[in-house]
Protein backbone atom coordinates (compact mmCIF):
# COMPACT_ATOMS: atom_id res chain seq x y z
CA UNK A 1 0.00 0.00 0.00
CA UNK A 2 1.54 3.23 -1.05
CA UNK A 3 1.22 6.71 0.45
CA UNK A 4 -2.27 8.12 0.23
CA UNK A 5 -3.83 4.80 -0.66
CA UNK A 6 -6.73 3.34 1.29
CA UNK A 7 -7.53 -0.30 1.89
CA UNK A 8 -10.65 -0.36 -0.29
CA UNK A 9 -13.54 -2.79 -0.13
CA UNK A 10 -11.56 -5.57 -1.84
CA UNK A 11 -8.73 -5.24 0.65
CA UNK A 12 -11.24 -5.24 3.48
CA UNK A 13 -12.73 -8.48 2.17
CA UNK A 14 -9.29 -10.07 2.14
CA UNK A 15 -8.73 -9.03 5.75
CA UNK A 16 -11.90 -10.91 6.68
CA UNK A 17 -10.17 -14.16 5.67
CA UNK A 18 -8.05 -13.78 8.77
CA UNK A 19 -11.22 -13.65 10.85
CA UNK A 20 -12.26 -16.99 9.38
CA UNK A 21 -9.15 -18.45 10.98
CA UNK A 22 -10.28 -17.00 14.33
CA UNK A 23 -13.75 -18.46 13.89
CA UNK A 24 -12.27 -21.85 13.01
CA UNK A 25 -10.01 -21.78 16.07
CA UNK A 26 -12.82 -20.89 18.45
CA UNK A 27 -15.01 -23.59 16.90
CA UNK A 28 -12.24 -26.16 17.27
CA UNK A 29 -11.96 -25.24 20.96
CA UNK A 30 -15.80 -25.29 21.29
CA UNK A 31 -15.86 -21.79 22.72
CA UNK A 32 -19.24 -21.10 21.08
CA UNK A 33 -17.99 -17.74 19.87
CA UNK A 34 -18.59 -18.24 16.16
CA UNK A 35 -21.95 -16.51 16.09
CA UNK A 36 -20.88 -13.61 18.38
CA UNK A 37 -17.82 -13.02 16.15
CA UNK A 38 -19.92 -12.95 13.00
CA UNK A 39 -22.46 -10.65 14.65
CA UNK A 40 -19.66 -8.39 15.87
CA UNK A 41 -18.20 -8.26 12.36
CA UNK A 42 -21.55 -7.44 10.79
CA UNK A 43 -22.28 -4.77 13.40
CA UNK A 44 -18.86 -3.19 13.03
CA UNK A 45 -19.26 -3.12 9.26
CA UNK A 46 -22.67 -1.47 9.36
CA UNK A 47 -21.85 0.88 12.23
CA UNK A 48 -18.57 2.05 10.72
CA UNK A 49 -20.18 2.56 7.32
CA UNK A 50 -22.94 4.65 8.89
CA UNK A 51 -20.44 6.54 11.04
CA UNK A 52 -18.20 7.18 8.06
CA UNK A 53 -21.08 8.56 6.04
CA UNK A 54 -22.36 10.63 8.96
CA UNK A 55 -18.94 12.05 9.72
CA UNK A 56 -18.44 13.45 6.25
CA UNK A 57 -20.78 16.43 6.77
CA UNK A 58 -20.03 16.76 10.48
CA UNK A 59 -16.29 17.24 10.13
CA UNK A 60 -16.69 19.46 7.08
CA UNK A 61 -15.05 22.78 7.97
CA UNK A 62 -18.16 24.61 6.76
CA UNK A 63 -20.45 22.71 9.19
CA UNK A 64 -21.15 24.50 12.51
CA UNK A 65 -19.15 23.07 15.43
CA UNK A 66 -22.42 22.53 17.34
CA UNK A 67 -23.02 19.43 15.23
CA UNK A 68 -19.72 17.97 16.42
CA UNK A 69 -20.64 18.70 20.02
CA UNK A 70 -24.00 17.02 19.44
CA UNK A 71 -22.06 13.99 18.18
CA UNK A 72 -19.97 14.01 21.39
CA UNK A 73 -23.10 14.13 23.55
CA UNK A 74 -24.54 11.27 21.51
CA UNK A 75 -21.56 8.95 21.96
CA UNK A 76 -21.40 9.81 25.66
CA UNK A 77 -25.03 8.81 26.16
CA UNK A 78 -24.59 5.70 24.01
CA UNK A 79 -21.54 4.66 26.03
CA UNK A 80 -23.59 4.94 29.23
CA UNK A 81 -26.30 2.79 27.64
CA UNK A 82 -23.64 0.20 26.75
CA UNK A 83 -22.30 0.10 30.32
CA UNK A 84 -25.85 -0.35 31.60
CA UNK A 85 -26.46 -3.22 29.19
CA UNK A 86 -23.27 -5.03 30.19
CA UNK A 87 -24.22 -5.08 33.90
CA UNK A 88 -28.03 -5.12 33.83
CA UNK A 89 -28.31 -6.58 37.32
CA UNK A 90 -27.11 -3.34 38.93
CA UNK A 91 -30.09 -1.09 39.67
CA UNK A 92 -29.85 2.46 38.37
CA UNK A 93 -26.53 1.92 36.63
CA UNK A 94 -27.40 4.13 33.66
CA UNK A 95 -27.29 7.28 35.79
CA UNK A 96 -23.97 6.25 37.31
CA UNK A 97 -22.51 5.43 33.89
CA UNK A 98 -23.78 8.68 32.38
CA UNK A 99 -22.14 10.62 35.21
CA UNK A 100 -18.89 8.70 34.70
CA UNK A 101 -18.77 9.07 30.94
CA UNK A 102 -19.85 12.71 31.17
CA UNK A 103 -17.01 13.38 33.60
CA UNK A 104 -14.54 11.61 31.34
CA UNK A 105 -15.67 13.49 28.25
CA UNK A 106 -15.71 16.87 30.00
CA UNK A 107 -12.31 16.55 31.67
CA UNK A 108 -10.64 14.80 28.73
CA UNK A 109 -11.82 17.28 26.12
CA UNK A 110 -11.05 20.22 28.43
CA UNK A 111 -7.47 18.95 28.62
CA UNK A 112 -7.04 18.27 24.92
CA UNK A 113 -8.61 21.47 23.66
CA UNK A 114 -8.34 23.77 26.67
CA UNK A 115 -4.57 23.35 26.72
CA UNK A 116 -4.39 23.77 22.98
CA UNK A 117 -3.10 20.28 22.21
CA UNK A 118 -5.51 20.24 19.29
CA UNK A 119 -7.27 23.07 17.52
CA UNK A 120 -10.98 22.90 18.30
CA UNK A 121 -12.51 21.78 15.01
CA UNK A 122 -14.99 19.14 13.98
CA UNK A 123 -12.31 16.97 12.42
CA UNK A 124 -10.40 16.87 15.73
CA UNK A 125 -13.22 17.01 18.29
CA UNK A 126 -15.14 14.00 16.99
CA UNK A 127 -12.29 11.45 16.75
CA UNK A 128 -10.58 12.62 19.94
CA UNK A 129 -13.84 12.38 21.89
CA UNK A 130 -14.42 8.94 20.37
CA UNK A 131 -11.04 7.67 21.51
CA UNK A 132 -11.36 9.07 25.04
CA UNK A 133 -14.95 7.95 25.60
CA UNK A 134 -14.50 4.59 23.85
CA UNK A 135 -11.49 3.51 25.88
CA UNK A 136 -13.04 4.74 29.12
CA UNK A 137 -16.26 2.91 28.36
CA UNK A 138 -14.43 -0.41 28.39
CA UNK A 139 -13.03 0.35 31.84
CA UNK A 140 -16.45 1.47 33.05
CA UNK A 141 -18.02 -1.79 31.88
CA UNK A 142 -15.37 -3.87 33.66
CA UNK A 143 -15.55 -1.67 36.77
CA UNK A 144 -19.31 -2.01 37.12
CA UNK A 145 -19.46 -5.71 36.26
CA UNK A 146 -16.50 -6.74 38.43
CA UNK A 147 -17.70 -4.79 41.48
CA UNK A 148 -21.15 -6.38 41.15
CA UNK A 149 -19.62 -9.85 40.74
CA UNK A 150 -17.19 -9.38 43.63
CA UNK A 151 -19.96 -8.32 45.98
CA UNK A 152 -22.02 -11.37 45.01
CA UNK A 153 -19.11 -13.83 45.09
CA UNK A 154 -17.75 -12.69 48.45
CA UNK A 155 -21.00 -12.22 50.26
CA UNK A 156 -20.02 -14.29 53.32
CA UNK A 157 -16.96 -12.22 54.17
CA UNK A 158 -18.72 -8.95 53.41
CA UNK A 159 -21.66 -9.88 55.63
CA UNK A 160 -19.25 -10.83 58.41
CA UNK A 161 -17.94 -7.27 58.23
CA UNK A 162 -21.43 -5.78 58.08
CA UNK A 163 -22.42 -7.83 61.12
CA UNK A 164 -19.57 -6.15 63.03
CA UNK A 165 -21.02 -2.74 62.18
CA UNK A 166 -18.77 -1.96 59.23
CA UNK A 167 -20.33 0.29 56.56
CA UNK A 168 -20.88 -1.65 53.32
CA UNK A 169 -18.13 0.25 51.55
CA UNK A 170 -15.57 -0.72 54.16
CA UNK A 171 -16.81 -4.31 54.43
CA UNK A 172 -16.37 -4.76 50.68
CA UNK A 173 -13.29 -2.55 50.27
CA UNK A 174 -10.85 -5.38 49.55
CA UNK A 175 -12.97 -6.79 46.78
CA UNK A 176 -13.88 -3.42 45.30
CA UNK A 177 -10.23 -2.45 45.13
CA UNK A 178 -9.41 -5.68 43.35
CA UNK A 179 -12.24 -5.07 40.89
CA UNK A 180 -11.06 -1.53 40.19
CA UNK A 181 -7.50 -2.72 39.62
CA UNK A 182 -8.84 -5.23 37.11
CA UNK A 183 -10.66 -2.43 35.30
CA UNK A 184 -7.72 -0.03 35.21
CA UNK A 185 -4.72 -2.33 34.79
CA UNK A 186 -5.13 -3.08 31.05
CA UNK A 187 -4.84 0.60 30.19
CA UNK A 188 -1.81 0.97 32.45
CA UNK A 189 -0.21 -2.02 30.72
CA UNK A 190 -1.09 -0.64 27.33
CA UNK A 191 0.45 2.72 28.20
CA UNK A 192 3.59 1.01 29.52
CA UNK A 193 3.93 -1.01 26.31
CA UNK A 194 3.42 2.01 24.09
CA UNK A 195 5.89 2.09 21.25
CA UNK A 196 7.52 -1.21 22.22
CA UNK A 197 4.77 -3.73 21.63
CA UNK A 198 2.47 -1.77 19.41
CA UNK A 199 2.04 1.51 17.62
CA UNK A 200 -1.36 2.85 18.61
CA UNK A 201 -4.07 3.81 16.16
CA UNK A 202 -3.87 7.58 16.12
CA UNK A 203 -0.11 7.54 15.63
CA UNK A 204 -0.34 4.89 12.94
CA UNK A 205 -3.00 6.88 11.16
CA UNK A 206 -1.00 10.10 11.31
CA UNK A 207 2.14 8.40 9.99
CA UNK A 208 0.13 6.74 7.22
CA UNK A 209 -1.27 10.16 6.40
CA UNK A 210 2.26 11.48 5.98
CA UNK A 211 2.73 13.32 9.29
CA UNK A 212 6.25 13.47 10.70
CA UNK A 213 6.66 10.48 13.12
CA UNK A 214 7.90 12.72 15.96
CA UNK A 215 4.84 14.94 15.66
CA UNK A 216 2.69 11.81 15.54
CA UNK A 217 4.37 10.54 18.73
CA UNK A 218 3.64 13.75 20.63
CA UNK A 219 0.02 13.68 19.58
CA UNK A 220 -0.34 10.04 20.48
CA UNK A 221 1.29 10.51 23.89
CA UNK A 222 -1.02 13.38 24.77
CA UNK A 223 -3.98 11.25 23.77
CA UNK A 224 -2.80 8.21 25.70
CA UNK A 225 -2.23 10.21 28.86
CA UNK A 226 -5.71 11.70 28.68
CA UNK A 227 -7.18 8.27 27.91
CA UNK A 228 -5.36 6.79 30.94
CA UNK A 229 -6.80 9.49 33.18
CA UNK A 230 -10.21 8.95 31.61
CA UNK A 231 -10.03 5.20 32.25
CA UNK A 232 -9.25 5.81 35.92
CA UNK A 233 -12.11 8.31 36.27
CA UNK A 234 -14.54 5.99 34.48
CA UNK A 235 -13.58 2.87 36.46
CA UNK A 236 -13.64 4.61 39.84
CA UNK A 237 -16.91 6.41 39.19
CA UNK A 238 -18.77 3.39 37.87
CA UNK A 239 -17.19 0.95 40.34
CA UNK A 240 -17.91 3.03 43.43
CA UNK A 241 -21.22 4.14 41.95
CA UNK A 242 -22.20 0.51 41.47
CA UNK A 243 -21.38 -0.21 45.11
CA UNK A 244 -23.47 2.79 46.16
CA UNK A 245 -26.39 1.57 44.04
CA UNK A 246 -26.15 -1.86 45.67
CA UNK A 247 -26.18 -0.40 49.18
CA UNK A 248 -29.62 -0.53 50.79
CA UNK A 249 -31.02 2.02 53.28
CA UNK A 250 -30.49 -0.63 55.98
CA UNK A 251 -26.74 -0.59 55.17
CA UNK A 252 -26.69 -4.02 53.57
CA UNK A 253 -25.77 -4.96 50.02
CA UNK A 254 -28.62 -5.90 47.72
CA UNK A 255 -28.70 -9.50 46.50
CA UNK A 256 -28.18 -9.52 42.77
CA UNK A 257 -30.00 -11.65 40.26
CA UNK A 258 -26.92 -13.26 38.69
CA UNK A 259 -29.06 -14.99 36.06
CA UNK A 260 -29.07 -11.77 34.08
CA UNK A 261 -25.30 -11.57 33.91
Amino acid sequence: MGEGEVVGWAGLAVSLLFVLVAVALTAQQRLHLGRPIVVALARSLVQMAVVGLALVPIVDPDTPLAWSWAWVVGITVFSAVTVRRRAPEVPGLFGVALLAMGLVAATGLAMMFGLGIFALEGRTLVPVAGMIVGNSMKAAVVGAARVAESVADNRAEIEAGLALGMPPRRASLRFVRSALRTAISPQVEQTAALGIVFLPGAMTGLILAGVDPLDAVQTQLALMYVILAGVVIAALTTGLGTLARLTTPAQTLAALDRSET
Binding site: A156, A160, L162, A163, G165, R174, Q251, T252
Partner: protein
Amino acid sequence: MAVPLFAFEGVGLVRDGTVVLDDVTVDLPDGGVTVLVGASGAGKSTLLRCANRLETPTTGRVRFRGDDLADLDPLAHRRRVAMVFQAPARFPGTVAANLRAVTALTDAEAGDLLDRVGLDRALLDRQADALSGGEAQRMVVARALTTEPEVVLADEPTSALDAAATRRLEHLARDLADDGLPVVWVTHDLDQVRRLADHVVVLRSGRVTWSGPAAAWDGEVGADG
Protein backbone atom coordinates in the same frame (compact mmCIF):
# COMPACT_ATOMS: atom_id res chain seq x y z
CA MET B 1 -43.38 -7.66 82.83
CA ALA B 2 -39.73 -7.63 81.73
CA VAL B 3 -38.92 -6.08 78.37
CA PRO B 4 -37.97 -8.89 75.98
CA LEU B 5 -34.54 -9.00 74.38
CA PHE B 6 -36.17 -9.18 70.95
CA ALA B 7 -39.85 -8.83 70.21
CA PHE B 8 -41.00 -9.93 66.75
CA GLU B 9 -44.41 -8.43 66.04
CA GLY B 10 -46.24 -9.81 63.02
CA VAL B 11 -42.99 -10.17 61.09
CA GLY B 12 -43.34 -11.33 57.50
CA LEU B 13 -40.69 -11.60 54.83
CA VAL B 14 -41.19 -12.43 51.19
CA ARG B 15 -38.12 -13.14 49.07
CA ASP B 16 -38.39 -13.57 45.30
CA GLY B 17 -42.09 -14.29 45.67
CA THR B 18 -41.57 -16.96 48.35
CA VAL B 19 -42.92 -16.43 51.86
CA VAL B 20 -39.93 -17.00 54.16
CA LEU B 21 -41.47 -15.61 57.36
CA ASP B 22 -45.22 -15.55 57.87
CA ASP B 23 -46.65 -13.34 60.60
CA VAL B 24 -44.06 -14.26 63.22
CA THR B 25 -44.95 -12.94 66.64
CA VAL B 26 -42.70 -14.05 69.47
CA ASP B 27 -40.67 -12.60 72.36
CA LEU B 28 -37.15 -13.77 73.16
CA PRO B 29 -36.20 -13.52 76.84
CA ASP B 30 -33.40 -11.18 77.91
CA GLY B 31 -30.99 -13.78 79.27
CA GLY B 32 -29.65 -17.30 78.90
CA VAL B 33 -29.49 -19.25 75.67
CA THR B 34 -32.51 -19.08 73.39
CA VAL B 35 -32.47 -21.68 70.63
CA LEU B 36 -34.42 -21.24 67.40
CA VAL B 37 -35.02 -24.73 66.05
CA GLY B 38 -36.68 -26.02 62.93
CA ALA B 39 -36.09 -27.96 59.77
CA SER B 40 -34.12 -26.54 56.88
CA GLY B 41 -36.11 -23.74 55.27
CA ALA B 42 -38.22 -23.10 58.35
CA GLY B 43 -37.09 -19.46 58.44
CA LYS B 44 -34.96 -19.54 61.59
CA SER B 45 -31.81 -18.07 60.01
CA THR B 46 -33.85 -15.35 58.32
CA LEU B 47 -35.46 -14.48 61.65
CA LEU B 48 -31.99 -14.17 63.18
CA ARG B 49 -30.82 -11.97 60.30
CA CYS B 50 -33.84 -9.71 60.89
CA ALA B 51 -32.62 -9.27 64.47
CA ASN B 52 -29.27 -8.03 63.14
CA ARG B 53 -30.91 -5.98 60.36
CA LEU B 54 -29.10 -7.93 57.68
CA GLU B 55 -32.64 -8.55 56.46
CA THR B 56 -35.52 -6.11 56.63
CA PRO B 57 -38.98 -7.60 57.18
CA THR B 58 -41.54 -7.02 54.48
CA THR B 59 -44.22 -6.54 57.15
CA GLY B 60 -44.32 -6.18 60.92
CA ARG B 61 -41.61 -4.90 63.23
CA VAL B 62 -38.72 -6.11 65.34
CA ARG B 63 -37.94 -4.51 68.68
CA PHE B 64 -34.64 -4.77 70.53
CA ARG B 65 -35.10 -4.13 74.25
CA GLY B 66 -38.19 -2.13 73.39
CA ASP B 67 -36.75 -0.06 70.55
CA ASP B 68 -38.09 -0.51 67.02
CA LEU B 69 -35.12 -1.54 64.84
CA ALA B 70 -36.46 0.62 62.03
CA ASP B 71 -35.73 3.66 64.22
CA LEU B 72 -32.16 2.64 65.05
CA ASP B 73 -29.00 3.30 63.07
CA PRO B 74 -28.25 -0.10 61.45
CA LEU B 75 -24.49 0.12 61.89
CA ALA B 76 -24.70 1.13 65.55
CA HIS B 77 -27.29 -1.60 66.15
CA ARG B 78 -25.06 -4.27 64.65
CA ARG B 79 -22.27 -3.33 67.03
CA ARG B 80 -24.69 -4.01 69.91
CA VAL B 81 -25.93 -7.27 68.38
CA ALA B 82 -23.04 -9.52 67.40
CA MET B 83 -23.60 -12.24 64.85
CA VAL B 84 -21.70 -15.43 64.07
CA PHE B 85 -22.40 -17.37 60.90
CA GLN B 86 -22.26 -21.02 59.81
CA ALA B 87 -18.89 -20.72 58.12
CA PRO B 88 -16.29 -18.65 59.97
CA ALA B 89 -15.37 -15.75 57.68
CA ARG B 90 -11.68 -15.02 58.23
CA PHE B 91 -10.44 -11.61 57.25
CA PRO B 92 -6.94 -11.46 55.70
CA GLY B 93 -3.98 -11.40 58.05
CA THR B 94 -3.31 -12.62 61.55
CA VAL B 95 -5.72 -13.46 64.33
CA ALA B 96 -4.73 -10.16 65.94
CA ALA B 97 -5.61 -8.30 62.74
CA ASN B 98 -8.99 -10.02 62.72
CA LEU B 99 -9.67 -8.99 66.29
CA ARG B 100 -8.74 -5.40 65.42
CA ALA B 101 -11.03 -5.30 62.38
CA VAL B 102 -13.39 -2.75 63.92
CA THR B 103 -11.93 -1.99 67.34
CA ALA B 104 -8.47 -0.80 68.39
CA LEU B 105 -7.19 -3.35 70.89
CA THR B 106 -3.93 -3.68 72.76
CA ASP B 107 -2.14 -7.02 72.64
CA ALA B 108 -3.26 -7.64 76.21
CA GLU B 109 -6.91 -6.93 75.37
CA ALA B 110 -6.73 -9.15 72.29
CA GLY B 111 -5.12 -11.90 74.36
CA ASP B 112 -7.84 -11.58 77.01
CA LEU B 113 -10.47 -12.10 74.31
CA LEU B 114 -8.73 -15.27 73.14
CA ASP B 115 -8.69 -16.44 76.77
CA ARG B 116 -12.40 -15.78 76.99
CA VAL B 117 -13.18 -18.00 74.00
CA GLY B 118 -10.72 -20.68 75.09
CA LEU B 119 -7.98 -20.06 72.54
CA ASP B 120 -4.25 -19.86 73.28
CA ARG B 121 -2.89 -16.30 73.32
CA ALA B 122 0.01 -17.54 71.20
CA LEU B 123 -2.42 -17.72 68.27
CA LEU B 124 -2.54 -13.92 68.04
CA ASP B 125 0.32 -13.86 65.56
CA ARG B 126 -0.89 -16.81 63.52
CA GLN B 127 -2.46 -16.27 60.12
CA ALA B 128 -6.22 -16.64 60.43
CA ASP B 129 -6.22 -18.93 57.40
CA ALA B 130 -4.02 -21.39 59.30
CA LEU B 131 -6.58 -21.99 62.07
CA SER B 132 -8.67 -25.16 62.18
CA GLY B 133 -12.41 -24.82 61.61
CA GLY B 134 -13.16 -24.96 65.32
CA GLU B 135 -10.40 -22.47 66.19
CA ALA B 136 -11.58 -20.14 63.45
CA GLN B 137 -15.15 -20.22 64.72
CA ARG B 138 -13.95 -19.35 68.22
CA MET B 139 -11.80 -16.55 66.81
CA VAL B 140 -14.89 -15.24 65.03
CA VAL B 141 -16.76 -15.26 68.34
CA ALA B 142 -13.86 -13.36 69.92
CA ARG B 143 -13.96 -10.88 67.03
CA ALA B 144 -17.69 -10.44 67.53
CA LEU B 145 -17.07 -9.66 71.21
CA THR B 146 -14.70 -6.80 70.37
CA THR B 147 -17.64 -4.41 69.99
CA GLU B 148 -18.81 -5.32 73.52
CA PRO B 149 -22.20 -6.49 72.25
CA GLU B 150 -25.34 -6.91 74.36
CA VAL B 151 -26.25 -10.22 72.72
CA VAL B 152 -24.62 -12.82 70.49
CA LEU B 153 -26.60 -14.26 67.58
CA ALA B 154 -25.23 -17.58 66.28
CA ASP B 155 -26.53 -18.99 62.99
CA GLU B 156 -25.81 -22.74 63.06
CA PRO B 157 -22.20 -22.06 64.08
CA THR B 158 -21.35 -25.73 64.61
CA SER B 159 -22.74 -27.11 61.36
CA ALA B 160 -19.26 -27.52 59.87
CA LEU B 161 -17.48 -28.62 63.07
CA ASP B 162 -16.65 -32.07 64.44
CA ALA B 163 -18.21 -33.31 67.66
CA ALA B 164 -15.40 -32.13 69.94
CA ALA B 165 -15.27 -28.65 68.44
CA THR B 166 -19.07 -28.48 68.58
CA ARG B 167 -19.09 -29.25 72.31
CA ARG B 168 -16.40 -26.62 72.96
CA LEU B 169 -18.44 -23.97 71.15
CA GLU B 170 -21.59 -24.98 73.03
CA HIS B 171 -19.70 -24.62 76.31
CA LEU B 172 -18.51 -21.21 75.19
CA ALA B 173 -22.10 -20.14 74.48
CA ARG B 174 -23.13 -21.38 77.91
CA ASP B 175 -20.26 -19.53 79.57
CA LEU B 176 -21.17 -16.28 77.78
CA ALA B 177 -24.81 -16.62 78.78
CA ASP B 178 -23.84 -17.40 82.38
CA ASP B 179 -21.67 -14.27 82.33
CA GLY B 180 -24.77 -12.23 81.50
CA LEU B 181 -24.45 -12.06 77.71
CA PRO B 182 -27.62 -13.52 76.15
CA VAL B 183 -27.12 -15.92 73.23
CA VAL B 184 -29.65 -16.63 70.47
CA TRP B 185 -28.62 -19.81 68.70
CA VAL B 186 -30.07 -21.32 65.52
CA THR B 187 -29.91 -25.06 64.92
CA HIS B 188 -31.76 -27.98 63.40
CA ASP B 189 -30.01 -30.43 65.74
CA LEU B 190 -32.50 -31.55 68.39
CA ASP B 191 -29.78 -33.01 70.64
CA GLN B 192 -28.04 -29.65 70.59
CA VAL B 193 -31.27 -27.97 71.68
CA ARG B 194 -31.46 -30.30 74.67
CA ARG B 195 -27.82 -29.68 75.61
CA LEU B 196 -27.89 -25.93 75.22
CA ALA B 197 -31.29 -24.27 75.41
CA ASP B 198 -32.84 -22.38 78.29
CA HIS B 199 -35.64 -21.23 76.02
CA VAL B 200 -36.86 -22.80 72.78
CA VAL B 201 -38.60 -21.28 69.78
CA VAL B 202 -39.82 -23.78 67.17
CA LEU B 203 -40.32 -22.60 63.60
CA ARG B 204 -42.07 -24.42 60.82
CA SER B 205 -42.70 -23.12 57.30
CA GLY B 206 -41.91 -19.57 58.35
CA ARG B 207 -44.20 -19.58 61.40
CA VAL B 208 -43.54 -19.98 65.11
CA THR B 209 -45.32 -23.13 66.25
CA TRP B 210 -44.08 -23.27 69.83
CA SER B 211 -42.17 -21.05 72.23
CA GLY B 212 -41.34 -21.53 75.88
CA PRO B 213 -38.87 -22.73 78.49
CA ALA B 214 -36.70 -25.64 77.39
CA ALA B 215 -37.95 -27.74 80.30
CA ALA B 216 -41.48 -27.56 78.89
CA TRP B 217 -40.54 -28.43 75.31
CA ASP B 218 -41.74 -31.83 74.11
CA GLY B 219 -38.79 -32.23 71.72
CA GLU B 220 -40.88 -32.05 68.57
CA VAL B 221 -40.40 -29.63 65.67
CA GLY B 222 -42.63 -31.32 63.10
CA ALA B 223 -41.80 -31.86 59.47
CA ASP B 224 -41.37 -28.82 57.29
CA GLY B 225 -42.96 -28.63 53.98
